[in-house]
Symmetry: C2
Subunit: 208 residues, 2 copies
Amino acid sequence: MAQSQGFDAHCLTVAYGQRHGVETKAARRVAEALKVADHRVVNIDLRAFGGSALTDDIAVPKDRSDAEMAEGVPVTYVPARNTIFLSYALGFAEVVGAYDVFTGVNAVDYSGYPDCRPEFIAAFEALANIATAASARGRFTMHAPLISMKKAEIIRCGVRLGVDYALTHSCYDPVDDLACGHCDSCRIRAAGFAAAGVPDPTRYVKTQ
Amino acid sequence: MAQSQGFDAHCLTVAYGQRHGVETKAARRVAEALKVADHRVVNIDLRAFGGSALTDDIAVPKDRSDAEMAEGVPVTYVPARNTIFLSYALGFAEVVGAYDVFTGVNAVDYSGYPDCRPEFIAAFEALANIATAASARGRFTMHAPLISMKKAEIIRCGVRLGVDYALTHSCYDPVDDLACGHCDSCRIRAAGFAAAGVPDPTRYVKTQ
């Protein structure tokens, strides 16, 4: 979406000790396919704190109903994760001289994460414009183009822009490169493809 | 200062590939001497971006005059550094159930860093109270008790509270455990001890 708006994409992936480390591989595949200007993978250690099913020895919930998924903050919430991610993005933007920062957070289909809401993005933009040396010379804009879109709309939009979803990854608890098909992320992704009427290229673990 | 106000101190040190990595050793010494509740050292990689004399192959400025030091943002500024640090502190606070976050930033003697100003701390506090699951249950307060104090006042306050300054480290460009005596940080520290009338226990590199 950033490229379609004419931006050169300097991409940042954060490897934070997540159970689904395979997503950094997917990010590399996508960055390569899109011929981005630059792609950095930063290694950080969120396991030092723990407190999340994504970084700790807490089981990833499976086969939850829509009602269960709508209830409060899930155990897959990683404390302050998006705040940390955007802080890195801000530092990276400052070093490359960028003032537009894009993030793919989404608040609609899954509103349990506090750091995926428009208020969070607005508060971070306010912070960015005070926190940096660069903010004395220009104004940072935080873009969250997916934030209010339903998953089906996101998928249709990606198809329109030529995204190859076979390169992408969503599962929280994959086995090798294969999606589990049962975590919240898998279920929401699959429902999105179904609602969009787009064939789902995701490769799932074979179960009996 | 947090302990003197009755807080249990859960301490966080960030090793970010800084030239003066010895400061993490100093942090361990201080944490041990103060018998803090907990001390974590998180390793992060800010060298992936570079852009600072503290993390990159850029020379640390030496023997600058007060006028030179007062001019703009120095090359020792690390893009978005304190934003990243406080984001980690926020995640750590959320995991241990704390709502009071202390940081030692100081805006007076050295005002060149945008992320050492009261406006920055206020903007981060606003963000913290939107960004986290914990903010639905309580209110985060950012404390920056040193922010408006002159270095001499800080030193006097530390002496009053029983701080052993021989355990501490400020130099940006140390040789082993010894301070260079010529970087901005050394000069400001030395001037602070002199102004406070407190003997300076800092061990400097011997020069001819």
